[in-house]
């Protein structure tokens, strides 16, 4: 369905076709395939950039390969947030590229200690998941006071104390101007131009070279009119915010984001081709009830917006449980779907195993493998990990569905030659495969120890049950 599906042949015909290898790959065709798959950049082809005769081809290729959702950046030179730059609406059509930026808010009515607490929270937020660090990305400074002087002071304080990318939030151009005067070198994202202030905001955006958010809550006609007007005004770096309703009206929010992204990716509609903003923070402004229920709602809305194409989210809650599922979800959704689901079966030594080291068995579902090996590595346990062929299916289903049986375990034991590497004959099988213990002992002739149901229990298990002899 994406209109932007580009054929490598078409790209190839515009390349120099000299197979000079300067880009690092064998020939121009391979480079063309890499370009189409977003694995390399046009700028890696020196002749295309340097040789006059390819000038026209270069600009043609540039246009051809540019994403239907433009890429907008903000922040400072050390730390930048990249929004949009997406080619497809559904991840299987290629892959998503720039993970949704998640910003938390601070206000100009917070005390310095409160500001520092929130700044530190965002900076220090870190969850290690299959070897990757999942983090938060930016701070949104909101002017609650609506006083230029106050906003200026707080913007100064925040930018002196962090180099996180910033979003300045005020609908009052005077306040915005004051905030910008305190910002120094970096370029924040401005929030927002509305039907009432667009001219002043456009001037500020042009003067300070900052991207500008277009906001028209729940009114797509005005949103589109504003987008066109600002483009005509000369503001090219725009972010679109159709408004987020966190309860009543949620369907119109989901619809707006879906329609905008559809028009950008599938109809090449230029006025929809900008990064989209979602503001789960509205859960705190709209609903009644306690903080916990607002945080809960905010978390759910954030998740739905991540899946419905938001490129940047502004959130409020500092609860780990609202943010953790969302950074994990974001990581999942932005994983390249071309990555295989399974890893190769076989033997993996971890650390420096010797002949008394334990031997673990796991499945070849990629995720199971990464989680198990990650846990073992983190605990610094020297061992052998036997990856049995479960047809790339997770352990629990593979055991129930008889995809992982004693036969597959015996196969990997035999083929790996692990029996020559250790002097014991004990296999540690996952707790979820406990029901296979008997048949594995019969089939392999090894003794079976049933390990924990989750690999997070491995360190404790080894400490208590594994005796080095």
């Amino acid at each position: 369905m994406p209109k932007k599906a580009i054929s490598p042949i078409k790209v190839y015909t515009l390349l120099p076709r000299t197979n000079c290898k300067k880009c690092g790959v064998e020939n121009c065709m391979a480079f063309a395939v890499g370009l189409v798959n977003m694995e390399t950049k046009l700028e890696k082809c020196p002749p295309l950039l340097e040789d006059e005769q390819y000038k026209k081809n270069y600009s043609e290729l540039k246009a051809m390969l540019s994403p239907p959702v433009s890429e907008v950046e903000f922040g400072n030179k050390d730390k930048r947030a990249k929004l949009g730059g997406e080619f497809v609406m559904h991840r299987h059509e290629l892959t998503y590229l720039n993970p949704t930026t998640i910003a938390l808010d601070v206000t100009d009515e917070m005390s310095e200690s409160e500001l520092m607490k929130r700044i530190k929270f965002v900076e220090d937020f870190n969850y290690t998941y299959i070897g990757k660090e999942l983090k938060l990305d930016a701070l949104a400074i909101r002017s609650v006071s609506n006083e230029p002087k106050k906003f200026e002071e707080i913007v100064k304080f925040v930018s002196d104390n962090t180099n996180l990318p910033l979003i300045l939030c005020s609908l009052n151009p005077e306040v915005m101007r004051a905030g910008l005067s305190a910002i120094g070198e970096s370029s924040p994202l401005l929030y927002a131009a509305t039907k009432d202030n667009w001219k002043e905001m456009a001037e500020l955006s042009l003067k300070h070279k900052c991207p500008l958010t277009v906001s028209s809550p729940n009114d797509l006609n005005t949103l589109r009119s504003l987008t066109k007007t600002l483009l005509d005004y000369g503001v090219k770096n725009l972010v679109i915010d159709p408004g987020t309703l966190a309860g009543e009206g949620l369907s119109s929010t989901i619809n707006a984001l879906t329609m905008l992204r559809w028009k950008a990716c599938n109809e090449e509609d230029k006025l929809s081709g900008f990064p989209l903003m979602g503001t789960p923070i509205t859960a705190w402004a709209s609903s009644n009830g306690e903080g916990q229920s607002k945080a809960w709602r905010e978390a759910l809305v954030a998740a739905m917006l991540i899946e419905r194409y938001a490129d940047i989210l502004i959130m409020h809650s500092l609860e780990g449980w609202t943010l953790l599922p969302n950074v994990v979800l974001r990581f999942n959704i932005y994983t390249d779907p071309r990555k295989p689901v399974s890893v190769k079966p076989g033997l993996r030594p971890i650390g420096n195993p010797n002949e008394t080291s334990p031997v673990f068995v796991t499945s070849n579902f990629a995720l199971t493998y990464y989680i198990v090996s990650g846990d073992i590595e983190a605990a610094k346990i020297d061992c052998y990990l036997l990856v049995a062929d479960s047809e790339g299916i997770s352990l629990e289903s593979a055991v129930a569905g008889r995809k992982l049986t004693a036969k597959e375990v015996a196969e990997v034991v035999k083929e790996s030659g692990v029996e020559k590497m250790v002097k014991h004959k004990t296999l540690i099988i996952p707790g979820m495969a406990a029901r296979l213990s008997g048949e594995i002992e019969d089939e392999t002739g090894w003794e079976v120890m049933v390990g924990p149901r989750d690999s997070s229990g491995i360190p404790k298990f080894i400490q208590e049950k594994w005796k080095k002899s």
Partner: protein, 394 residues
């Protein structure tokens, strides 16, 4: 002398003219012109026109028109459960499917049927996360009572009775005993029932045969038929007693099509729903999410072999350790993390088109139903609160 002065003036004015024509503006410093009358005559040179774009002064007026999606396919409607006037004993039945657009594309028309939110019950005590056990602790060995609580206390639309103890490697419960339990649960609750096996393909076929007999006329949902089974043997009792099959495949659309094709030989299209497999956030969500999304989009674009309602085992969310593990205090208590993990997994699968969710935790069920209400309500929304300048608690 006069001639010399004349020459000087001429030279000066010539260079002035020359400079003026080149620079448009000229500033003379430390120059005194001491003459009675100075007349500079020069041809008017046209001002260089710099092509500046005129900045708009008014807001443009452009309309936003919804996209043109051009779906051609339709998901058939499948009825779950049979009321007395339909030959069963249920107090209600549900229709799932019927979609002609992608999930929650309500800008293209309303969703015909609400997704069904069901809850899991197991036929033996199994390892369950503490947050779930806390709600069902006293009924974990009493499946009919457990089912009753799901429906009466927690508002489950349907109950999924999982006959895990039938696995020859677990308890090897006989098909007859399992069929008896199905009858008991059908007595205990009046909602439509889904009955699942242990996942052992050979044993499941035997179990389903007896279950289909025991639940004749009730239009049970049978969980599940797969390619490792003797399809003919597995589907015959469903055809004979009028039940619905979940066609289960593991993240592979070619296999999903193949299984459906094989089922078409024995049962009608409105007796098949698909489970393309799903996993929780942090434990493979992206695979289940994308395979279901691909299946549904392909179906709407006309792939007839994938035109079936989708079923998702949301309870798989609890396999992610973040859902149940005691973690550092900053990540919050597992009693909250677990339900939120399951809820977000459920919402994810709903957004890609799932029609039937199997769930575990009462709070997740309640929340998902609430959100579905919001998602299905069309019409104009209220004013959006001004979050940018609002004082917020928390």
């Amino acid at each position: 002398m006069a001639k010399k002065e004349d020459n000087l003036v001429k030279k000066l004015s010539d260079s002035l003219v020359g400079n003026l024509s080149r620079y448009e503006e000229l500033e003379l410093e430390d120059v005194t012109i001491d003459v009675k009358e100075l007349a500079l005559k020069m041809l008017p040179t046209p001002r260089r026109v710099i092509p500046t774009k005129v900045k708009p002064t008014e807001l443009a007026k452009v309309e936003f028109s919804p996209p043109k999606t051009e779906w051609v396919g339709k998901i058939p409607e499948v009825t779950l459960g049979a009321r007395v006037d339909d030959g069963g004993t249920r107090d209600r039945s549900y229709i799932i499917g019927g979609e002609t657009t992608a999930a929650f594309y309500t800008f293209e028309g309303s969703m015909v049927h609400r997704p069904v939110i069901s809850m899991d019950v197991f036929d033996m005590k199994i390892t369950l996360p503490g947050a779930v056990r806390a709600h069902f602790g006293d009924v974990l060995e009493d499946p009919p009572e457990w089912a009753k609580q799901c429906v009466e206390k927690h508002g489950a639309d349907m109950v999924n009775l999982h006959l895990v103890s039938t696995d020859p490697y677990i308890k090897d419960t006989s098909p007859q005993d399992s069929a008896k339990l199905v009858e008991e649960v059908l007595q205990a609750v009046r909602v439509p029932l889904c009955v699942g096996g242990s996942g052992n393909p050979a044993k499941d076929v035997e179990v389903f045969e007896k279950v289909a007999e025991a639940g004749a006329g009730e239009r049970l949902l049978i969980n599940s038929l797969n390619l490792d089974m003797d399809i003919e043997k597995a589907s015959k009792p469903l055809k004979e007693h009028g039940h619905v099959a979940i066609a289960f495949t593991q993240m592979d659309l070619d296999k999903a099509r193949e299984l459906n094709r094989r089922l078409y030989d024995y049962v009608s299209k409105d007796q098949i729903v698909m489970d393309t497999n799903c996993a929780g956030i942090g434990y493979g969500l992206e695979y289940g999410f994308t395979i279901a999304e691909r299946a549904r989009l392909a179906a709407l674009k006309g792939d007839q072999e994938l035109q079936h309602p989708l079923v998702s085992g949301i309870s798989n969310a609890w396999a992610s350790r973040e859902a149940w593990l005691e973690m550092e205090p900053m990540w919050g208590p597992k009693e909250i993390r677990g339900p939120i993990w399951e809820t977000i997994t459920a919402l994810s699968m709903l957004l890609v088109g799932s029609d039937y969710l199997m769930m575990l935790h009462p709070t997740s069920v309640k929340t998902v139903k609430e959100i579905v209400d919001y998602l299905l309500k069309g019409g104009e929304a209220r004013e959006i609160p001004d979050w940018a300048s609002a004082k917020l608690g928390g």
